[in-house]
């Protein structure tokens, strides 16, 4: 199959070996193709050969050198991606100064915010820093207890019904 296609192209270009031509034409007819196809291709092929030929380069060496330089420049970033000696840390330190300083500044900013904002460390709003009374009960008859929140997260336990202590009663 491939031989036929090769011969077909060469036949269209008028380059087919005359010894092979009778056999080729028989194959062409067997495939239901017309000899007129080849005849119509002949002028087109001639015009292409005459007008669409590659322009000769005046400075071929310079052109080749420029292309090679461009190829090398494009290939260099791939070569340097994390494969330097010293690994990613050396790559980090080797980054352009402005980028490295911007990264360092961001880390310092996050650290500063971490220590400056209590909510970041405790993972909750300011309300979570309040002391909470979960339960409160009086153990003596006649006493009553109430618990409530005060300002700044403080909690109050209010006991009512305790005996009055005279001023001369020693409490220290």
């Amino acid at each position: 199959m491939k031989d036929f296609e090769t011969q077909y192209v060469r036949w269209q270009d008028g380059l087919l070996d005359p010894a092979l031509e009778p056999e080729f034409l028989r194959e062409l007819k067997r495939r239901g193709m017309s000899e007129a196809d080849g005849a119509s291709w002949g002028p087109i092929s001639g015009m292409l050969a005459e007008h669409a030929a590659a322009c000769p380069l005046e400075n071929a060496d310079f052109f080749s050198h420029s292309v090679m330089e461009k190829v090398v420049a494009l290939a260099e970033p791939d070569k340097g991606g994390g494969t330097h000696e010293g690994g990613w840390f050396a790559t980090f330190l080797g980054m352009p100064g402005r980028l490295a300083w911007a990264g360092g500044l961001m880390v310092a900013l996050v650290a500063a915010l971490y220590f400056a904002i209590p909510e970041v460390r405790t993972g909750g709003p300011r309300d979570d820093l309040a002391t909470r009374i979960l339960s409160a009960q009086a153990d003596e008859p006649g006493l009553s207890v109430a618990a409530f929140e005060a300002n700044d997260g403080a909690a109050v336990v209010w006991i009512e019904g305790l005996d009055y202590l005279p001023a001369d009663h020693v409490v220290r």
Partner: protein, 161 residues
């Protein structure tokens, strides 16, 4: 020692500013993750109204506004204090006075969320209050005690780092 000096010259001496900054940030974050053990303190105050109010005790200054607003007095004198570590081995007695004292059973402060505590207030040999609380540093529990003379006894229980 001399060997360390030579190593330092070749290695540490060549640290770039970026690496130094990174190391400083790591150190700050590490230090922030360390927590000092807490302690629980009880202060017994006598609250009175005075025409010439005196300054509150230094330890009570952060809570002065609350003390004034909640109890309605303008003078607070400290008559005793007691302190115990958190968490205690089992239970701790904080005895700021012979009249009122506190039994505290505390647990470990998990994730910095607060210290669960079982607090019992005793007046001499009688237990008068039994309460469960979640204590946060710097946020006290203010317990209103009995009237004493022309004033009021107040127990301030606070978790201190």
């Amino acid at each position: 020692m001399r060997a360390f000096g030579k190593v330092g010259r070749g290695g540490v001496g060549s640290v770039t500013p970026g690496a130094g900054l990174l190391a400083l940030c790591c150190l700050l974050i590490f230090c922030g993750s360390l927590r000092a053990e807490d302690s629980i303190s009880a202060y017994l105050l006598v609250a009175t109204n005075d025409s010439e109010p005196q300054p509150v005790p230094a330890k009570m200054r952060p809570y002065e506004k609350n003390l004034r607003e909640v109890f309605g007095y303008n003078r607070f004198d400290q008559v005793g204090a007691g302190k115990a570590d958190v968490p205690g081995k089992s239970e701790a007695w904080l005895v700021p006075s012979s009249e009122l004292f506190l039994k505290a059973d505390t647990q470990r402060n998990e994730n910095g969320r607060g210290v669960p505590a079982q607090l019992e207030l005793w007046q001499r040999e009688k237990r008068i209050l039994n309460t469960r609380a979640l204590l946060r540093p710097g946020a006290p529990v203010l317990i209103r005690g009995p009237q004493w003379g022309n004033g009021l006894l107040i127990l301030v229980v606070v978790l201190e780092p």
